[in-house]
Symmetry: D2
Subunit: 142 residues, 4 copies
């Protein structure tokens, strides 16, 4: 799994009681909530996504995750984000889940967004400005 150096943007998320399932660790589905959070928080901060505006929105077409080590409430996770690939109207992100003060990640995943017109929901080519902004968080050398 990639180390912290590979990632270019970070989001901290507080764990919730509801995240843990009957086995006493955070359920696998919750990591995907964090991927949604990390990607969208970054898109909003980067000025690319305006939830109340009329620009393009990202629809998720593929995700995946490998889970290396169980974690548990309470506490927080730090989600590292980087762009692996920008396509014509899509972006493939890599995400790493880390506990604060730990260098090894606890999970790693990918997340593919297709950017579509908000109303028609048809794919919309990424503008040069979008593309340039995505490049600022390109995945580090591995």
């Amino acid at each position: 799994m990639l180390g912290r150096d590979a990632y270019r943007a970070w989001t901290t998320i507080t764990l919730r009681w509801a995240d843990a399932d009957r086995y006493g660790h955070v359920n696998n589905t919750v990591y995907y909530q964090w991927f949604d959070d990390a990607v969208n928080v970054w898109l909003i901060a980067a000025g690319l996504l305006d939830l109340r505006g009329d620009g393009p929105i990202g629809l998720v077409v593929e995700t995946g995750c490998r889970f290396a080590k169980p974690i548990d409430f309470p506490g927080a996770v730090e989600i590292g984000l980087a762009v692996e690939h920008a396509g014509t109207s899509s972006a493939r992100y890599r995400l790493g889940v880390f506990l604060p003060d730990e260098s090894d990640g606890v999970a790693e995943g990918h997340f593919v967004h297709v950017y579509v017109d908000r109303t028609t929901r048809r794919p919309q080519p990424l503008s040069p400005a979008w593309r340039a902004r995505l490049e600022t968080i390109s995945l580090g050398e591995r």
Copy 2:
């Protein structure tokens, strides 16, 4: 609704993409997740609940919430907590949901825990130590 002064303990929780429903605001059910978080984070910090130990655990027997104003991802909420009443083996908490830097709450609720033996799940009277600890966060004068 009670102001910030009424509360005695605080927890900050980051909002998630998944918290908002189709109407573009945080869904009512999510506030109850935050109540679970605030109560349990405080119980753990107070040394009353040990998730991996064998002391009593709290089971929820009643909750309720009034919603004053919609809120939305991204951002965070601050949850104020206070004890309204400590019974023989139960505690009734009051909770207020606030946006950072706002003095008026966006929602207010209550949450009743019955403390039970972890294995038998039978109610267990609160020890004097528990009771004293709960009193340190008694709801402020109204």
Copy 3:
């Protein structure tokens, strides 16, 4: 708690792995998801709510629930629904959670919707047709 006779409309919901928390029973917050389901399924079936149309929508301003008995995945729950009170632009529903083939409920709650214009989000008086439809599921004699 009210028996099955008090309720006028029913929705069956399948339990999910994610519903159970670390204590091995369905978490209290999940019951509120079912209340959302039962009310909205009924509103849609009654022709009062069209998720993709432009009529009024219901915003939740208050909920509450008492939990009588823990339940667990897998299986299903049956949610009974009845209208306790219809106001100028609001409705207060009573909801009962039952296991299939059991006559005593496992939880009982209330749920208050204010009906608002979808765009302005301002309260909108209930039309006579809405009111008449709500009356068809008035809470039974107690």
Copy 4:
């Protein structure tokens, strides 16, 4: 994506209001809840998993999903399940999400469980009985 013929076991799950996000369709993370449901419902029905017993439990080490078509509340989904591969102490499942009465799936994913001792959480080799049971739902010819 695989058709219905590829799958060997089926679970029907009711959609919830909470499943849809601000874009008015079921959020990507919810499909993973259904994978948890389908796998565990089958394991329990097959007699391999006893939630309250002391046999091995499955921990999720990898999942992934491709999303072909948005779906929305209300309604239900049918989850098709098959075993792609059984390892020494693991199983890789393939899952398809279908709308009732539709032959093409709306999403397809995989889910890898490692079976561990419930207490030590160390991997435990699959018994011949487990292996034989898993083979009864081997993925169909493609």
